[in-house]
Amino acid sequence: MASKLAIEDLEAGYGAVRVLHGVSISVEDGESVVLLGSNGNGKSTLLKCVMGIVPPSAGKIHFERDGERIDLAGKSPQEIVGLGIALVPEGRRLFPMLSVEENLLLGAYRSAARAKLAENLEFVLEVFPALRERRRQLAGSMSGGEQQMVAVARALMSEPRILLVDEPSVGLAPILVNRMIAKIKELKERRNLTVLMAEQNFNQAIKIADRGYIIVHGEIAFEGRSAAELRGNDMVKRYYLGI
């Protein structure tokens, strides 16, 4: 059941604007890796490349599953989801006119997830009890924090081996960010998930990081092999902790 993601020398952009300049990162089985960086440094673009939403102009993205090495280049988002990679997108992107339950059921669209639908639905409703009471409510009518819960729960419904999370803290009150990060940590431990999370809120992200990367202007500026190394780094201190 080993899953691994390896990104090598990735370059990507939008039209004439180059966003990523030779980024190499890896995520090993069972790890949670954080990608730190402020707005506009390429975190989301990197995750979009992995999901096949933005085509890379150079570089390689490989997904290893039980010893099988799969090249993700040229694959569509739905094919990549089908391999067992799920993204909680920036801005959540729920189906606003569908109920919470319909959103969650759509999460289990891929065939491997349908088989475990009942079990996974019970699991996410147990982790997010607030959603159980709001199953019939339209997703678009919920608060930002609740929508973020639905987005994470929906991604889990697809039975992913690797979960990518794009800026879960955006638009949430600090106390909700706290709770959300704690939930992602809980999910990771209970499900033995492999997580790659892009985040600009260093103090929150560090809580679930086994290790991480700092991305500045589309390049990896620092690789921290442990949470302690990330905390101790000068640049982190300067830019994120203000010490």
Binding site: M51, I53, S76, P77, Q78, V81, G82, A86, L87, P89, R93, L94, F95, P96, M97, L98, E102, L105, L106, G107, A108, Y109, R110, A113, R114, L138, R154, A155, S158
Partner: protein
């Protein structure tokens, strides 16, 4: 002029007519309501369905409604192919709003002209034992040529409603216009989903067409009378809500029937556009709209 039996007959006739309108509008509730594709040619496909029922009925004596049900899978395939063309020519390049409308306008004219070239402009009708019979309860008439379409349309609505709310494909069809990328992130292919939905919408036209020709004689251009009605029903029902569409169809049927009884039949075509204008002015989301 006004009397209880006239009123009761007008209401019952309206409900039966409204049920048939649901069969006319349900394909558009999927294609226009869910996918946002302005398929103005939908009533033309209904006329094709009516002619297929006519041909097989007059040649082999098949029951027209049975022909409609059997033709539905073929219509599904045709619909899926037409969506393919529409997607490749317009949607992929982002030109669907105006060019797409012109495309379906063209499809409508081609269907009409082909039917006229082959069968002329004469009215065609079908034979079946139940056409011409009726029940009479008290002073209210239940003609079978209206009752059968009502029953079939109600069953069709129930089947589509169940499909939309209880299957993965149905839920994906509801989601595809809301956020295409998010649907891809669920592992679904949006083009395939839309192709399915469009095929399903056209498949209902085969059934609606057979009901149309059971109700009365059909000639190639009568489809035009249903364009305004079908779009008015979908908007009044709340764009894509199947249950809302059914209620809206009944409302249109009842109001049309009352207007035609008490103000004269020549007023009834104005009802649909009147309802459409009122809906857009007072409640743009429709009666049961989620948006």
């Amino acid at each position: 002029m006004f009397s209880a039996d006239l009123l009761a007959n007008a209401v019952v006739a309206g409900i039966l007519l409204g049920g048939f309108y649901a069969a006319v509008a349900i394909g558009l509730a999927i294609v226009f309501g869910q996918l946002d594709i302005v398929n103005i040619a939908h009533p033309a496909f209904i006329i094709v369905g009516a002619y297929i029922a006519y041909i097989l009925n007059s040649r082999f004596g098949f029951d027209p409604v049975l022909v409609g049900l059997l033709a539905a899978p073929a219509f599904f395939v045709v619909g899926a192919l037409i969506y393919r063309v529409y997607f490749l020519a317009f949607e992929r390049t982002g030109q669907e709003s105006l060019s797409g409308l012109a495309f379906f306008f063209g499809v409508m004219f081609i269907i009409e002209v082909v039917l006229i070239l082959i069968y002329g402009v004469d009215y065609r009708l079908v034979q079946a034992d139940y056409i011409g019979q009726s029940w009479r309860i008290g002073f209210v008439d239940f003609p079978f040529r209206m009752l059968v379409p009502f029953a079939v349309a109600t069953a069709l609505t129930a089947v589509i409603y169940t499909f939309m709310s209880h299957t993965f494909m149905g839920r994906a069809i509801q989601a595809v216009a809301q956020d295409r990328l998010a649907l891809q992130l669920m592992g679904a292919d949006p083009v395939r989903i839309k192709q399915w939905a469009f095929g399903l919408g056209i498949a209902t036209a085969a059934i609606a067409g057979s009901l149309l020709i059971v109700i009365g004689p059909v000639e190639p251009s009568v489809g035009r009378l249903y364009i305004g009605r079908a779009f008015a029903i979908v908007v009044l029902g709340g764009m894509g809500s199947i249950s809302g569409m059914f209620i809206a169809a009944l409302i249109l049927g009842i109001v049309e029937s009352m207007v035609s009884t008490f103000a004269g039949p020549s007023w009834s075509p104005a009802v649909a556009f009147g309802l459409l204008a009122l809906t857009l002015a007072l409640r743009p989301a429709g009666l049961f709209g989620r948006r």
